[in-house]
């Protein structure tokens, strides 16, 4: 039987399907969404900003599968194009958070002492703001656009990523092979990036997959409030925001992007949970042990 490496205890048979199931369902769902986003120009029945003034507020039908909005734009096409923006925002923000957060956490966790204190206390100040408030404060003094939204959301997540990287580093730094590297006289940079980093990635990857979904939601909220992606671009949060005046007559304008957004987030958190259970040996035996 093909058991994961290092696992010598057979699992109860009924637990394994659930474990693989999460990875499988999450991965498959996400795969479909990513493919649809990549091939949106081919898959989408209409260009996202094309107006069909004669066909405003159409309910879902054979031509407009998810109906049309107040300007006669095809809701399904806009939702498909919106997935490109959302996935980009989620990935870009997570990338920025990791790019800054991981080195900070490695440095703080490995150096200890005053540098550790300084970094962590500064991050504490950032974390003592309620998340959306800090972003709104920054966006209040700038004109919002796609890149700035990604940057601000990414920066907001730096403290959380750095804290995780620090705690992982702390436990790895106590291992013998790090002592050995230090005794060999390796440089601090070498130890951080060649010795600690390769061993620190599993929890960081799990965190990243969940963080993408947080970032997608946060970016959608910002667009919804008018501080993210700007019209006429097709963004999920923006589409839902603009549909608010027409909820009574045509709820599908809000429901279609909303449901796709939820499916994306669910697929990402299933994937993240599945990965965590797969990578963390303690969870392999199921919860409660």
């Amino acid at each position: 039987m093909a058991l994961p490496l290092g696992n010598t205890v057979a699992q109860p048979a009924w637990r394994r399907p659930a474990l693989r199931g999460k990875l499988l369902v999450g991965g498959a769902l996400l795969g479909i969404i990513v493919l649809l986003a990549l091939f949106a120009p081919i898959v989408a029945p209409f260009p996202p900003e094309e107006l069909h003034v004669a066909d405003r507020f159409q309910a879902p039908n054979a031509i407009y599968l998810a109906g049309t909005d107040e300007l006669g734009r095809d809701v399904l096409s806009r939702t498909l194009y919106g997935s490109r923006l959302s996935l980009f925002l989620g990935l870009a923000a997570t990338f920025i958070a990791m790019l800054i957060g991981i080195p900070l956490g490695l440095l703080a966790g490995y150096s200890r002492g005053w540098l550790d204190e300084l970094i962590m206390r500064l991050l504490d100040v950032m974390m003592s703001f309620p998340p959306i408030i800090l972003i709104l404060l920054v966006l209040a003094v700038m004109t919002p656009n796609l890149a700035k939204t990604a940057l601000v959301v990414g920066l907001l997540y730096v403290p959380a990523v750095a804290r995780l990287a620090r705690s992982v580093t702390l436990s790895i730094a106590a291992e013998d092979f790090i002592q050995a590297a230090r005794a060999r006289g390796e440089s601090r940079l070498y130890i951080l990036f060649r010795e600690i980093m390769p061993n620190a990635w599993p929890p960081l990857v799990v965190d990243a997959s969940l963080r993408v979904s947080f970032a997608i939601l946060l970016a959608a909220v910002l667009s919804f409030l008018g501080f993210g992606v700007q019209p006429p671009q097709a963004d999920w949060g923006l589409m839902i925001s603009q549909s608010r005046s027409f909820l009574q007559i045509s709820p599908w304008i809000a429901l279609t992007p909303g449901i796709v957004m939820c499916l994306t987030v669910v697929s990402l958190s299933l994937l993240g949970d599945g990965l965590r259970e797969h990578l963390d040996p303690r969870l392999r035996h199921g919860p409660g042990l």
Binding site: S128, F129, I133, L137, V141, A220, R244, P251, L255
Partner: protein
């Protein structure tokens, strides 16, 4: 315990000061100062210079910060640029209305979340447990603004039970007041409940497997007494800390919810002032909201310490 309280008080003070500096810096270091915004695109250099002098914008930033911070401590938050009135009274009214939402939501989250968590733990691995965790997944995956839209479509447009937007004071009658609160509070509760119920479930599971619970059962105590009197007390400790952390998300949620439901609280005021570039107002709201958040965290820490014997007796020995 006293040492611990003093430590926490000191660190909260430091954080509040650092935070106010950060708020001030973000608003004042970035290009486009208050005078430029007040005069708009018709400003002449002379008018700009005169206004800058009048507002004290030519003073060193440290002096400006000191003036702003000391005024804020005495309750003077400056004047709104757009409404041309003192900020403090407007902000106070909005804060009260937001507090109604926040308290109602946190109470619902605590009661329902803990209940669901305990039930899930008692029925671990069975259908009830799975139903609770599915409910939790849904709550977390659906952002508050979409929950709000779905609830409006269902209960307002379709069933017509509750008004879609707005606010009525209590003086207008109990039902008008409550009916405007139902949908916002339900939305906030739905998004936060998963966190609490998951955590309660896992900490209850830990506690239920501990030896003192086995001992209590072995003594023949009825299951209800074991769960309510023995397990719950320790099982709820982590939940209190998380409730305080969730308070941050609650504040974020309130900003969104208030703008969906056109509820005249602090969140809507914040969005309103950002849209109109009313920087003094933005600065004041962010300061008040963040300070509230810090104090809530402090309160939770102290409550946790008071309930947890390890900290109550052990702080000085560390």
């Amino acid at each position: 315990m006293l040492v611990y309280v003093l430590q926490r008080l000191a660190s909260v003070t430091v954080i509040l000061i650092a935070m106010s500096i950060l708020v001030f810096a973000v608003v004042n270091l970035l290009p486009g100062n208050t005078a430029i915004i007040m005069l708009g695109s018709y400003s002449t250099p002379e008018a700009l210079a005169a206004l800058e002098a009048k507002l004290g914008l030519n003073d060193p930033l440290a002096v400006q910060y000191w003036r702003w911070a000391t005024d804020a401590l005495t309750g003077d938050l400056g004047n709104s640029l757009v409404m041309e009135r003192p900020i403090a009274p407007i902000l106070w009214d909005a804060l009260q209305r937001s507090a109604i939402l926040a308290i109602a939501a946190i109470v619902c989250v605590a009661i329902i979340g803990i209940l669901l968590g305990v039930v899930a733990a008692l029925y671990e691995g069975r259908l009830t447990d799975h139903a609770v965790s599915l409910f939790g997944y849904l709550g977390m995956a659906i952002p508050e603004f979409f929950w709000a839209i779905v609830l409006i479509i269902l209960f307002s447009s379709y069933l017509g039970w509750f008004p879609t937007v707005g606010y009525e004071p209590l003086s207008a009658g109990l039902w008008p007041f409550l009916s405007h609160l139902v949908l916002p509070v339900v939305t906030l509760t739905l998004t936060l409940i998963a966190h609490i119920s998951r955590l309660t479930r896992s900490s209850m599971l830990d506690v239920l497997q501990s030896s003192y619970i086995r001992a209590a059962r072995a003594r023949g105590l009825p299951e209800r007494v074991v769960v309510m009197n023995h397990a719950l007390r320790n099982g709820l400790l982590p939940t209190i800390t998380v409730l305080a952390q969730d308070f941050g998300w609650l504040i974020g949620g309130i900003v969104v919810i208030e703008s969906v439901f056109a509820y005249p609280g602090l969140g809507r005021l914040l969005i309103f002032s950002i849209e109109r570039h009313d920087l003094p107002f933005v600065q004041a709201i962010v300061l008040v909201v963040t300070a509230t958040f810090c104090l809530a965290n402090l309160g939770a820490d102290l409550l946790y310490a008071a309930l947890n014997p390890k900290i109550r007796y052990g702080a000085s020995s560390r």
